[in-house]
Amino acid sequence: MADTIGTWPLIIRPGFTLGGTGGGIARNKEEFQTIVTRGLDASLNTEVLIEESLLGWKEFEMEVMCDRKGNAVIVCSIENVDPMGVHTGDSITIAPIQTLTDREYQAMRDDSLKVMKAIGVETGGSNVQWAVNPETGRRIIIEMNPRVSRSSALASKATGFPIAKIAALLAVGYTLDELRNDITGSTPSCFEPSLDYIVTKVPRFTFEKFPKADSTLGTQMKSVGEAMAIGRNLKQSFQKALRSLETGRAGFGADGKDEKYESASDEVLAEEIARPSAERIFYVRAAFRRGWNVDRVYELSGIDRYFLRHFEELACFEDEIRSAGTLENLKKDHSLFRQIKEFGYSDRQIAFLLGCTEKDVSRARRETGLIPVFGSVDTCAGEFEARTPYYYSCYADHGEPRRDSAGKKSIMILGGGPNRIGQGIEFDYCCCHAAFALRKAGYEVVMVNSNPETVSTDYDTSDKLYFEPLTLEDVMHVYEREGCSGVIVQFGGQTPLNLAQKLKDAGANVIGTSPDDIDLAEDRDYFKQLSAKIGILQPENGIAHNPEEAMEVCRRIGYPVLVRPSFVLGGRGMVIVHHEENLREFVEQAEAIAPGKPILIDRFLQNAVELDVDCISDGHRTVIGAILEHVEPAGIHSGDSASITPPMTLSQEIQEKVREYARAFAKELHVCGLMNMQLAVKDGQIYMIEVNPRASRTVPFVSKAIGVPLAGLASLCQTGKTLDELGFTEEVKIPYVAVKEAVFPFVKFPGVDVVLSPEMKSTGEVMSLDRDYGLAYLKSQIAAGNRLPSSGNVFISIKDEDKPKVVPLARRLEKLGYHLYATRGTSTLLYDNGIKTNAIFRISRGRPNLLDLIRDKEVQWIVNTTEQGEEAMVDEVQIRSKAIIAGIPLTTTLEGLVAAIEGLTDKMDFGRFEVCSLQEYHRHIHTALKR
């Protein structure tokens, strides 16, 4: 087929996958072979699409909505900044379309509607993607999805047209003209939103979590989240989006973090501008700072000149800001100050360029009366009055008048910003529930967030929605404008928590657990004292500032140790070190991740059981939400471990002790709201690992398991209600089992090791319920896409320390009717114990080996455990990567295997799973909760 098309490069897209899994761009025959093979494996219907490469063409998207009567509208049009070749999900995108004439736009619109008709979409939303040759205007359809898609959420938030909501109503028979436009309240939904602002979406990546993954962007989506920003012009919108991303950048550069890009040689700069990546945009800025012109950058990047001109202007404008010389001078030049803000520069950027502090800039700006006004997302460019308050900040003459709170007290809830590993929609769940509860209790809820993929940024979740970056500057403007009586920082994850102290200093009333107490929990010395006071053990630990100190600490506390940089999220850079010879390397890595920050070292508790406890406190009484026992042992990040409640293996006595500790910590830390504790249990001893006085990742899971909206209750506690008043005074005992299992993005990153470690890697989770532990676990595996076979061949390869435990497990597998394969060592061990296996070679030793089995689809389940924290053996990395790509279920811990065998055994006994609704499960629990 490649020969028929006759040109390189070619694009390969596997059929029936999400986010382009397994696809790629082949520039020659070898690459073509590799990608096609991978694509065929990833495709659910073993099909790949091979097409002419449109690399460098302009990319556009149209969100279409139609009803059963044939009425159809374009909800939103989107133009990608990154040209064709980069997955839309990984592109910076702008709405509405900017560089097409009306003729070209309408022709695209006509064809999008024709596509809907031709595909036979009866009702609902679809998206149609187009590529346009920038030189000739030749337009080609790339794909269409007859369903709501990732971009539907973006389109909904960008326009105020709630695509999914309307699609649901259309599906049950309504027509577009019968449905009201919620935003105006007076016009029908059968219209096309008109935007008088510019929307920018920037993808959020986590390549730092997967250092071995190729950071070049292509047709396979690699981003894990996105931020959206709205501005009155492109520059404002673009800069706001970059600072919404929370990657530490204050906008489009000019924040002191451009050294890497600005110091690149011309060759590197040219290469990096030609190579699509998360950082390309900053190389583009560096090029303009260096004096390269738009045409040169265009030739390299293919980014449309329209966008490049804006980027160039911003890069050059930095000198105009600098020309003010000092903040004092700038203060005197109101029109320049205002122009800077109109260009979207944050106070932080101005501070960097003028060599002062953000606080100084903020004060000077306010003194000259320069504060933003707020525009409204009204769906109609001002033609009709908007009823729904949905705002964005901008610097302009006119702002929407503040809407009266109708005598209600306003409470601000800060969202979590873009999804990333370690901070995902779990926190948005908490924000939403807090909003629901507070609104019900008579408060006016003001929501601030920048993530278009969330429910918190639906215009009907809060009373007033502000689509803003979660920075001190942007948040305080909203706080002041709305005259909020308090701000809740506990629910949005680390993002608002990091702002807590600054908000308090700026005069905001942070309600719930105080910022000081939040900081105290992070203070290791204080925490040590507190643990001693409460009488709980901590793993032996120490702090080091260099490899020598680290070695000393380790000699004192003994190996293995857990080494991690301080002040990081999601276990970033955390490793387990078993021997002194590996220590130095890891300490150096940790130093690189958080330069200048101390390195934390803990004695690693091998084979300990890890626990998560979520509880709620009103400042006096503390009630346990649930104790979760991790399936995987300590050493695997809690976010990556399967968790089970009620705990499986813990004695009542231990559980009671855990509860006591929770109550004691909540009291000492003056917790008002939610608190999460992580503990480890080894040989009957309980060790404290960490306490977080905030909503945790597991709150949604626990809330659903016990049928109690913990986040909602917590928000009410923060406004002064007691748990007594709320009727939540006792831990809920559930007569069933709930399991949470993590979902991983490994399949998107070929070559990256799949082993679980103290660094969190999962991007999602699933939950399952059953009356029985094993069945609940098995359901969770199915839900997570790890469909364990009920018969067939199982390959077992076990690390040495697990070998004694594997014999009874292998026996049970044999009994369940599986055929076992193992490498020589494991095979001999099992043979000696009377278990028959097929012995195969280690990959590096000969053939047939496991790779052959995988290729021939001879193996249906792979069990492969390895030393934690060690540089994984080449063999094992290969095994796991191939298994993931081949879609073969993979179990990487013995604990996981135990749970799976339990489940498979029970399933065989019961013959089926229990299928009940969540409400049916909840019928069995008893609480005094006032709903």
């Binding site: 049009s77 009306d102 029908p188 219209f191 001109r309 109609c380």
Partner: protein, 366 residues
């Protein structure tokens, strides 16, 4: 480094003075001449060149609510008439072009055609003002001749306005001409400010079109014996185009009639309908209109300040604006004549309503 005019952008020496005394500051571009006219806003997100060349905007300043303008430049093809008829363009941000069809930047285009523009204006503020207070008379100052703001406001107030003014005769062609020499049907089109895309659509519907100046007597049209007569769109107030009303009455029943926009208003008034001014008019590309005969909703392109209100018994309403329930289309109950307020020819705007030209053809077939 290109010239960014940052200083000029800060100084904002040009301004738009509204008759109500409000001043909007900005930066002048295009031709350097002051003008007076009526300010309206258009919510379409693309199509500024079509708007610039639409004769219906004669006497008006058009405020574009889309914030970034000029992005795709201007070209020789996307024109809707022989010239630029509006008084001036009011925008938020002015960009250099980036589009394979672009021949001139927006600034160059306005300069070449002797029209002024102002950018850097808070167009949302202006739009909301127009929405709340209605269309406004205004004075646009972009020239180097200094004008006092108060004086500018006075000039705006003193301007005669569009109500009761016949602008059709100002924009119509001087003599009859042919468009599309071949075609099954012969259509006589009254040019009250006709858009080229109407002619293109008629041609696509297999019509040979003869375009006549606005004041051409009905007798002259009938002497040509066309298969149908088309009443075009056009600027300003239909009640002032009295000569057209007389001609339409003479043609009604003798030839199938189709009207668009001003032509629709004229047909309605000629049949006895009343016509009034809308507060700020309809100008945009996203207005939902229900076809009352089929129930279907079309997303339409619109540009009008006046609308038919009370219809006589001989007329039937065929189209309804779903935003504000105004009359969007009529047909005569017994005679072959129909018209729509919106623009089925689009340009700019969606092509949902092109089939109306086929309906005209069907009327001519009978």
């Amino acid at each position: 480094m290109p010239s960014y005019m940052w200083k000029e952008k800060r100084e904002k020496k040009a301004f738009l003075a509204l008759a109500d005394g409000t001043i909007f500051h900005g930066v002048g571009f295009g031709a350097e001449q002051d003008t007076v006219g009526e300010v309206v806003f258009n919510t379409g997100m693309s199509g500024y060149q079509e708007i610039l060349t639409d004769p219906s905007y004669a006497g008006q300043f058009v405020t574009l609510t889309a914030p970034e303008i000029g992005n795709y430049g201007c070209n020789a093809d996307d024109v809707e008439s022989r010239a630029l008829f509006l008084n001036g363009l009011i925008i938020h941000e002015l960009n250099l072009p980036s589009n394979f069809r672009s021949e001139w930047s927006l600034d160059e285009y306005l300069k070449q055609n002797g029209k002024s523009g102002i950018f850097g204006v808070d167009t949302r503020a202006l739009t909301l003002l127009l929405r709340d207070r209605g269309s406004q008379k205004a004075y646009l100052h972009v020239s180097k001749e200094p004008v006092d703001e108060k004086e500018a406001v006075r000039r705006a107030q003193e301007w005669e306005g569009l109500d009761g003014r016949d602008y059709a005769s100002k924009v119509t062609c001087q003599a009859r001409y042919e468009f599309n020499a071949e075609g099954r049907f012969h259509v006589a089109a009254y040019d009250f400010g006709i858009k080229l895309n109407i002619l293109r659509e008629l041609a696509a519907a297999d019509c040979r079109v003869t375009v006549f100046p606005a004041k051409t007597p009905a007798e002259e049209i009938l002497a040509d014996n066309p298969d149908g007569v088309f009443l075009s769109n056009g600027p300003a107030d239909p009640s002032a185009v009295t000569y057209a009303l007389e001609n339409i009455r003479k043609l009604l029943g003798k030839k199938p009639l189709m009207g668009i926009c001003l032509g629709h208003q004229l047909l309605g008034i000629a049949c006895g309908a009343t016509c009034g001014r809308l507060k700020f008019g309809h100008h945009g590309c996203n207005h939902p209109v229900r076809n009352l005969l089929t129930g279907a909703v079309e997303i339409t392109s619109q540009n009008h300040n006046y609308a038919l209100q009370k219809l006589p018994d001989c007329l039937e309403m065929t189209h309804l604006n779903l935003n504000d329930n105004t009359v969007e289309g009529i047909r005569h109950k017994s005679l072959p004549a129909f018209s729509v307020q919106y623009h089925p020819e689009a340009a700019p705007g969606p092509h949902d309503s092109q089939q109306l030209f086929d309906e005209f053809r069907k009327l001519m077939e009978k």
